[in-house]
């Protein structure tokens, strides 16, 4: 300012000739002209940017690789859960509100409990409700696509994994809401005297092993992952994961209402994941999360405990459906295992990128707790894996103080980064199958992971082949672990699954696991239903071994509620164990036939896995359709009869993102802010200078 204003001040008091003044004026006018040219130079790119931004936006619709569009749909979820007996029945309402001024299709990939049987779909558009139908998967998809093209309201829900589903809703009018109501049921978990129910709300982004498939068919792509040789449907199970800030402020919220009517006096209800607001009415508990709504970035887990001494040790339920009798029995052996043999304990810890953040800290403390349980008779090893596998010792070493100290240091240094190549880690952990010293040692593997992989089926096959006489126990970590993987891996590994939900929740479940691991309490289990050829229509077809606190749950079709159920097995010492249950005391229940059908479908798929053949697709489809169930081969579709959108009106497709699980770090990096305000500051400075010069000139012209 000194430079520009001082010549003026210096000039004015001195006697100046007209000519000089004129020259000064010309000079200043020249300067402002130059400045305005400069200004033009700065304004031009702004203008250009505005134009370019549009083009880029269009480009990105076309190439559609690894990106999701700013969602114009706002998602609301409402869970109404009714627990009666051992089955929880859920009505899940998902509303897609279109906030844009264009017609939209919403595509949403979402998790459900791993044992969920989806049995109903209803679509609501304004006042009208349209009932969905079960159809074979391809047929349902064709029905949906046809309706979508024709401009009819339509909804389609498909199963991608037993715990992962895709909902598609076509032709959502601008500014309006289309709701999809799903009904599903799930068995309630009962372990060591505590009931547990989980409502998954999001999923941890999964790693897709294998090489990308070149020349993949140019099909519908809704996810960030490209199909690979091992996960051909990677695109369908990899919804974009975003932080809560990236979605509309009222999107991705869930209302949960849980009513527990278990017929037992309940002592306490708690949740390791959320604060609860519960209300008791006799033996009925009404539970909702504190504050009403929860953000869908963490599984909602509720546990309840019957009054001490009244924990159920046996229960039978009965249902008549379409003239057939269905029975479900639950039995807790209530025996204690005895620690007998020294162990070879192999800890496998997942240090892949999806474990970054809170998860790796929980995993480390779980592993440290596991090291605490070792005695000098035991041998142990620690294996970590991400893109590569790395083990602490070449083979299991004796748990001396020295070795344990080494292991503790090793565990403390673990960092989470990289891919999730689980197969080599499993091979390495299971490779010592034969080294049991003639049965004088037991070999056990503790697998600590979030299960965020896309090739579950291949891993189950591998566990089955390499297991030998070992046992595999899984410990699920994080806000949204892949429970399907956890539970099934433990089942194929003849072990149990333990979930850790929060840092404060590490000790309890792990103590239960470590005491259960000492030995199974019941092996060689046989279940004999009266008047029935053994194992004909009862499931699970082969009961696995039971660990401490675990119940035996069986379901059967075609057996009336008469006579006695006989369960026998072998105790750790080799003694026989038998228990009978009077079936006449069976309590009435609903949904047993769906549970039975789901168990039968699972057993058919198991058979296929064991024999290495294709699953009985026709059989599963028929079973699922007759019981109105969703399965890998059947999906739900609902179509409104009258078209709502004229074919000329364009419609866009929105792939709704899921939220990043709480406490985890995004493997996907955000582009950083890479511009400075320098050009803006310079431009503003120059404009200001020019403006003041112009005023000075005007002033001098007006008052010479």
């Amino acid at each position: 300012m000194i430079i520009s204003s001082s010549p003026l001040r210096l000039c004015s008091p001195a006697p100046v000739t007209r000519r000089q003044r004129f020259r000064l004026k010309r000079f200043l006018e020249g300067v402002s002209l130059w400045l305005s040219v400069l200004l033009m130079l700065f304004v031009h790119p702004l203008y250009a940017e505005a134009n370019e931004a549009d083009n880029v936006g269009q480009l990105h619709f076309v190439d559609g690789q690894g990106q999701w569009q700013e969602p114009a749909l706002v998602l609301d979820s409402e869970f109404d859960i009714q627990v009666s007996g051992l089955i929880a029945d859920t009505r899940l309402l998902r509303s897609f509100r279109n906030t844009s001024d264009q017609w939209r299709e919403g595509v949403f990939v979402f998790p459900l409990p791993e044992k969920a049987s989806v049995y109903d779909l209803t679509m609501t558009v304004g006042e009208r409700t349209i009932e969905g139908k079960v159809q074979p998967r391809e047929a349902a998809r064709r029905t949906y696509e046809k309706a979508k093209q024709a401009g009819q309201h339509a909804a389609n829900v498909e199963q991608q994994r037993p715990n992962l589903f895709t909902a598609r809703v076509a032709n959502i009018p601008p500014g309006e809401t289309v709701s999809v109501e799903l009904k599903y049921q799930q068995p309630v978990q009962y372990q060591a005297g505590v009931f547990e129910l989980t409502v998954p709300t999001t999923l941890t982004p999964r790693y897709m092993p294998g090489a990308p498939v070149r020349n993949a068919p140019d099909q519908w792509q809704g996810g960030w992952a490209m199909p690979t040789t091992e996960v051909p449907d990677a695109g369908a199970i990899s919804p974009f994961t975003v932080t809560p800030d990236d979605v509309a402020a009222d999107s991705h919220r869930a209302v949960i209402n849980l009513v527990i009517d278990s017929g037992l006096p309940i002592e306490s209800v708690s949740s390791p994941s959320h604060r609860l607001a519960s209300r008791q009415d006799g033996q009925t508990f009404s539970i909702r999360p504190d504050g009403g709504e929860i953000l869908m970035n963490r599984d909602f887990v509720v546990r309840w405990r019957p009054v001490a001494g009244l924990e159920p040790s046996a229960a039978v339920f009965h249902q008549s459906w379409q003239g057939e009798d269905y029975l479900m029995a639950m039995l807790v052996p209530g025996e204690n295992g005895t620690m007998a043999l020294p162990r070879d304990l192999v800890f496998v810890i997942d240090t892949s990128g999806s474990m970054a953040g809170e998860s790796i800290r929980q995993a480390r403390s779980a592993l440290q707790a596991g090291l605490d349980t070792l005695t000098p008779r035991d041998r142990f090893n620690v294996i970590q894996f991400n893109s590569q596998t790395h083990s602490l010792f070449m083979q299991p070493e004796v748990a001396t103080g020295n070795n344990l100290a080494r292991a503790r240091r090793y565990v403390d240094r673990l960092r989470a980064d990289g891919g999730t190549e689980m197969a080599p880690a499993l091979s390495r952990a299971l490779e010592g199958a034969g080294e049991t010293e003639g049965g004088a040692r037991v070999r056990q593997v503790i697998f600590i992971t979030d299960g965020a992989v896309g090739n579950e089926a291949a891993l189950f096959r591998q566990i089955r082949q390499q297991l030998g006489s070992q046992r595999l126990f899984t410990v699920g970590i994080g806000s949204a672990p892949n429970r399907h993987f956890m539970r099934e891996a433990a089942r194929w590994g003849r072990g149990t699954y333990t979930a850790i939900h929060s840092p404060s929740d590490v000790d309890g479940p792990l103590q239960a696991l470590f005491s259960a691991m000492e030995s199974p309490v019941l092996t060689d289990i046989r279940v004999d239903w009266p008047g029935q050829e053994t194992g004909k229509e009862s499931f699970p077809r082969r009961s696995g071994d039971l660990f401490q606190g675990e119940p035996l749950v069986h379901v059967v079709r075609g057996v009336p509620a008469m006579g006695e159920l006989k369960v026998s097995g072998r105790l750790p010492g080799g003694k026989d164990w038998t228990r009978t249950l009077d079936l006449q005391q069976a309590a009435p229940a609903t949904g047993l036939h769906r549970h039975w059908a789901r168990e039968k479908i699972d057993s058919l798929e198991d058979e296929a896995r064991v024999t290495g053949r294709e699953p009985d697709k026709a059989g599963i489809t028929e079973l699922a359709v007759s019981h109105g169930l969703m399965s890998a081969y059947t999906s739900f579709v609902a179509v409104d009869s009258t078209p709502a959108r004229s074919p000329e009106t364009p419609m866009e497709s929105d792939n709704l993102p899921t939220l990043l699980p709480a406490g985890s770090q995004d493997g996907m990096l955000r582009y950083p802010q890479t511009a400075t305000s320098a050009p803006l500051l310079i431009a503003l400075g120059l404009v200001g200078l020019m403006f003041s010069l112009a005023i000075v000139l005007l002033q001098r012209r007006a008052f010479p």
Binding site: H44, M668, L680, G685
Partner: protein
């Protein structure tokens, strides 16, 4: 009136000075960073360019075609991008892709001149140079696209800056991403006992 005018003049001049200070700082900082880089190469440690710095040099980036070289800093947090481009992730020692982001108005202004096939060189702390070939550049929308680090093949170098280059908007959503891949890839596997 005169006071108002003076105020306007003062504030515009201040803005101008601040605006010019940013590119000036970028140039001066690089000189200091050169010294810190030489020191960290000599001592094989992280050495901070000035005592209160919250970042340190991790690599040297050279673009021979444009006769341009600059020191790359660790991370892109805080103010570090004002002093030099920042390495978001990856290093030659740990394998994986390397992602470097820099300011469009200062260090990475020259990115727009990079063409497919051009060479980009990156020197690590051990003094060894790694050559990369530019595969191409594209414009991405940072609101809708994230960098999936697990998907990037090893030996990939991403240079990220803001786009468009002549914009005055500092918070724009578009990014210009140059992708380069290593040539003569020689990467030792990390040292494992199992060696799988």
């Amino acid at each position: 009136m005169t006071r108002l005018l003076l105020l306007l003049l003062t504030s515009s001049a201040t803005l101008l000075v601040f605006g010019l200070w940013i590119p000036l700082k970028a140039v001066i900082a690089q000189e200091l960073l050169e010294m810190a880089w030489a020191e960290s190469q000599a001592r094989q440690t992280e050495s901070r360019p000035w005592p209160w710095a919250d970042t340190w040099p991790v690599a040297r980036l050279a673009i021979p075609e444009l006769n341009d070289t600059m020191i790359v800093l660790a991370d892109t947090h805080g103010e570090s991008l004002a002093f030099g481009p920042g390495r978001l992730t990856g290093s030659r020692d740990h394998g994986g892709a390397v992602i470097i982001a820099g300011h469009r108005d200062t260090h990475f202004r020259s990115l727009k001149a990079l063409e497919t096939g051009n060479e980009v060189r990156l020197q690590g702390r051990d003094g060894r140079w790694q050559s990369y070939h530019v595969d191409g550049a594209r414009v991405v929308d940072s609101r809708s696209e994230l960098i999936d680090t697990q998907r990037l093949p090893e030996g990939t170098l991403l240079l990220v800056t803001c786009y468009p280059f002549d914009s005055v908007d500092a918070g724009g959503p578009l990014r210009y991403v140059v992708r380069a891949s290593a040539k003569g890839k020689q990467r030792e596997q990390i040292d494992t006992v199992a060696g799988i």
